[in-house]
């Protein structure tokens, strides 16, 4: 049998270290290009936004600052061009916006096609979005995982005394999947003829979950050799192990950034799922007529916490300040408060409305009401309804529509409260409400690098509140055992979000 030997001429070309001499390209450096027509660049505000966007992207590719504290490129430079990119001899990251997508491609001279690609939905705000470290970290993770190296080994992440690869959790890591459990550390060679990479593994590192808080540590099975030139890191699981997850997270973050930027200051209890937190306060006064009811007012504080894993958690605290009048049969009065927590499940829809949401709620109600009411015999009595800390369950449904700086929400809610711990006479509360909220986006302030948005709230609601006494004792006169109050209120308020 005669065999032709495949004859691979494996003249290996070693990726140089940062100590590369003048003639050798620095393989730990990447040039970042924004490529588009003059119109595209102008529409995206490239002059204003690209320097910061590029800086955020480049930083997310750096060791220590990238995903899970890893990154392949120690240095980067930024270019914006309106011609096909004049790519350099090193690594290049090309950002290409088109009508529907912004594509990111990592190329290396000599290779006919990109070594890594990712993309996200294009909007006029794409470059602004690229300043967000959570987005750039996700994009960097998706790109780096496709490359022959996820990270370079650099002194800032290599701890020879342990020995370990260790990095702090960065702010941008928020939406990343769990860090790789095992890493390969290797030197890397490229066969320029075949464009095949050859790895020489020098150590394996295993992540210890119990490592220090806010730090990711992979312990090495041996110290790294000093004579191997630049060493590189990759997930033992291989390339692109998180690609699907990362793509999904990129879409989520882009959607959130878009909504945050375009919705009226956002934050509102209306829209739910965006930004990081929202706090608002508002005041409303009754427009109903009738004894005491015409004087009822409502002061509310609303808060919504956003960001995983508490995205959608809401708190409502409503106070009806005490109002009272002196009447012939005794003072009539009305006061109460309710503290309710809810969780918003929202879903974007098309058509007339942008979003629908459902908010299951649980909380505590306190009511103290006394009215002069006629009993079954027509005799007017001063009747008291009182409950303290009644356990409340409720469900709210809402639909939203955004129109430029205005957001409109129609909602309806039914709440039921009782106090199961009290024996004997118990006052039950059934509260059916419906209303319309409007939110107008106001000015934004930048405080310590964070956008603080101010919004104006206008709202109206109708409350149908039934209080019923049950389980009376023998001595108690309960011939008047229920009261129903119908109150319409209108009001306004202010909200801030960050």
């Amino acid at each position: 049998m005669r065999l032709l030997y495949p004859g691979l001429l494996f003249s290996l070309w070693t990726l140089s270290s940062a100590r590369a001499d003048a003639d050798t390209p620095d393989r730990t450096k990447i040039s970042i290009h924004l490529v588009g027509t003059q119109d595209q660049l102008s529409q995206l505000g490239a002059n204003d936004h690209w320097p910061q966007a590029c800086k955020a992207l480049g930083t997310s590719l750096k060791p220590k600052f990238g995903p899970w504290g890893l990154g392949a490129f120690r240095k980067f430079d930024c270019k914006a061009v309106n011609e096909p990119a004049q790519l350099g001899p090193n690594w290049n990251l090309v950002v290409i916006p088109d009508k529907t997508k912004v594509r990111l491609e990592v190329t290396l001279s000599g290779f006919s096609k990109p070594l890594a690609t990712t993309q996200f939905r294009a909007t006029d705000l794409s470059l602004t979005q690229l300043k967000n470290p959570e987005l750039t970290t996700l994009l960097a993770a998706d790109l780096l995982e496709q490359l022959p190296m996820l990270s370079a080994v650099v002194p800032s992440i290599y701890k020879p005394k342990l020995p370990a690869i260790a990095a702090k959790v960065n702010k941008g890591d928020k939406y990343l999947p769990a860090p790789p459990t095992e890493l390969s550390i290797y030197s890397l060679e490229l066969d320029p003829a075949t464009h095949f990479w050859f790895a020489h593994v020098v150590a394996i590192a295993t992540r210890k979950p119990e490592a220090e808080k806010n730090q990711i540590v992979w312990y090495l099975d041996r110290k790294l050799p000093k004579d191997q030139g630049q060493l590189w890191i990759h997930d033992v699981g291989g390339r692109s192990v998180h690609h699907k997850e990362l793509s999904k997270q990129i879409d989520t973050v882009v959607e959130e950034l878009w909504t945050k930027a375009t919705s009226p200051s956002v934050p509102d209890r209306l829209t739910g799922q965006f930004s990081s937190a929202f706090v608002g306060t508002r005041y409303a006064h009754s427009i109903s007529t009738g004894q005491l009811v015409n004087r009822v007012s409502l002061v509310s504080v609303l808060a919504e916490l956003r960001g995983l894993p508490i995205d959608g958690l809401r708190f409502y605290y409503d106070i009806w300040p005490s109002v009272r009048e002196t009447a012939a049969l005794g003072a009539v009065r009305f006061s109460g408060n309710r503290l309710v927590a809810g969780w918003s499940f929202s879903h974007a829809v098309g058509g007339i409305f942008d979003r629908i949401d459902l908010v299951p709620k649980v909380g505590r109600w306190t009511m103290d009401i006394a009215f002069n009411l006629a009993d079954q015999n027509g005799e007017v009595r001063n009747t008291e309804f009182k409950t303290v800390g009644a356990l409340n369950f409720g469900l709210e449904a809402g639909i939203e529509k955004k129109i430029n700086r205005l957001m409109l929400r129609l909602w309806a809610s039914d709440d039921f409260g009782t106090n199961p711990l009290i024996k004997g006479s118990v006052t039950k509360v059934n509260n059916l409400r419906a209303g319309v909220d409007t939110l107008v986006k106001g000015p934004s302030l930048k405080i310590r690098g964070k956008d603080i948005n101010l919004s104006f709230l206008l709202y109206g609601l109708y409350e149908n509140m039934s209080l019923t006494k049950t389980g009376s004792t023998a001595t108690e006169d309960i011939e008047v055992n229920g009261v129903r109050l119908q109150i319409a209120l209108i009001g306004g308020g202010l909200a801030i979000a960050w």
Binding site: L4, P6, H200
Partner: protein, 261 residues
């Protein structure tokens, strides 16, 4: 008593082999030979990879063998398991497809390996696979070596026995030839035969082709040895004239040591 101790020490030192020091001349010749284009073009196994599962969900799984000393036992080197796995993971496979042929082709090509040994500890024969005209072919199929690969020396012997030769000519200088073989064979004072028409053949047919020249070992260092051509068996149609004058033994020719078979 002290004198007796000194005598014993002297006796021990005298008993050490005279060539225990590294043979710098051979090491130097090996380096030169490896840089020679003829060495790079020659057909013989320089690098092998040991695999126990080629068709799997992800990358092939590699034999969990300690091959740390393997490269010193013969002229054949193995690709460490971690290197092989990582290399396959960071490259796009040259041939897409999850069938065995595509995977073997991709692995051999990416790793720059001449041969792949595929075997498990399951009692089935092991296969030696190489590429022929860009297609994987089974070069030999044989019961697993003694120790199932854990005995590195047995694994080397098994490989070369299945390929049908003991050593390979890796350099030629007049009547001297440099041979890569098995370290345990080359320590002996041996004679060998360079096989005719064997330079571009990975596996030799049995019985072997007729001899081109006979050779006698001069010195050795590990898995490499210098031999002297002691008689020229070639006829006129070969590129060989008489020994000591003009002998063209092609690099890559296969060598057998009849006395140690």
């Amino acid at each position: 008593m002290l004198l007796l101790g000194k005598l014993i020490l002297l006796g021990y030192l005298a008993s050490l082999p005279a060539n225990a020091a590294p043979n710098a001349a051979i090491n130097s010749w090996v380096q030169q030979a490896k840089a020679n284009p003829a060495y790079k073009k020659a057909v013989f196994p320089r690098k092998i990879v040991l695999i126990d599962e080629i068709v799997s969900q992800q990358t092939p799984t590699f034999m969990e063998l300690d091959v740390s000393n393997f490269n010193m036992l013969s002229f054949v080197a193995t690709i460490p398991r971690n290197d092989a796995r990582q290399t396959l993971q960071i490259n796009d496979p040259p041939k897409s497809g999850s069938d065995e042929e595509s995977r073997i082709y991709s692995a051999l090509t990416l790793l720059g390996s001449d041969l792949m040994i595929i075997g498990k500890y399951d009692g089935k024969p092991w296969r030696i696979v190489g590429l022929y005209k860009n297609k994987p072919i089974v070069i030999a199929k044989s019961p697993a070596p003694q120790g199932g690969g854990t005995n590195q020396n047995a694994l080397v012997k098994w490989l070369l026995r299945n390929l049908g030769y003991d050593a390979v000519v890796i350099g030629v200088n007049k009547d001297r030839i440099l041979v890569g073989g098995r370290a345990d064979q080359l320590t002996a004072n041996i004679k060998g035969v360079v096989l005719r028409r064997s330079a571009d053949t990975l596996k030799m047919a049995m019985p072997p082709e007729e001899s081109l020249v006979s050779i006698q070992k001069v010195s050795s260092e590990g898995a490499f040895a210098e031999f002297r051509i002691i008689n020229n068996d070639a006829n006129d149609e070969e590129d060989t004239e008489n020994a000591g004058t003009k002998t063209l033994v092609p690099v890559g020719s296969k060598v057998i040591f009849p006395d140690v078979h």
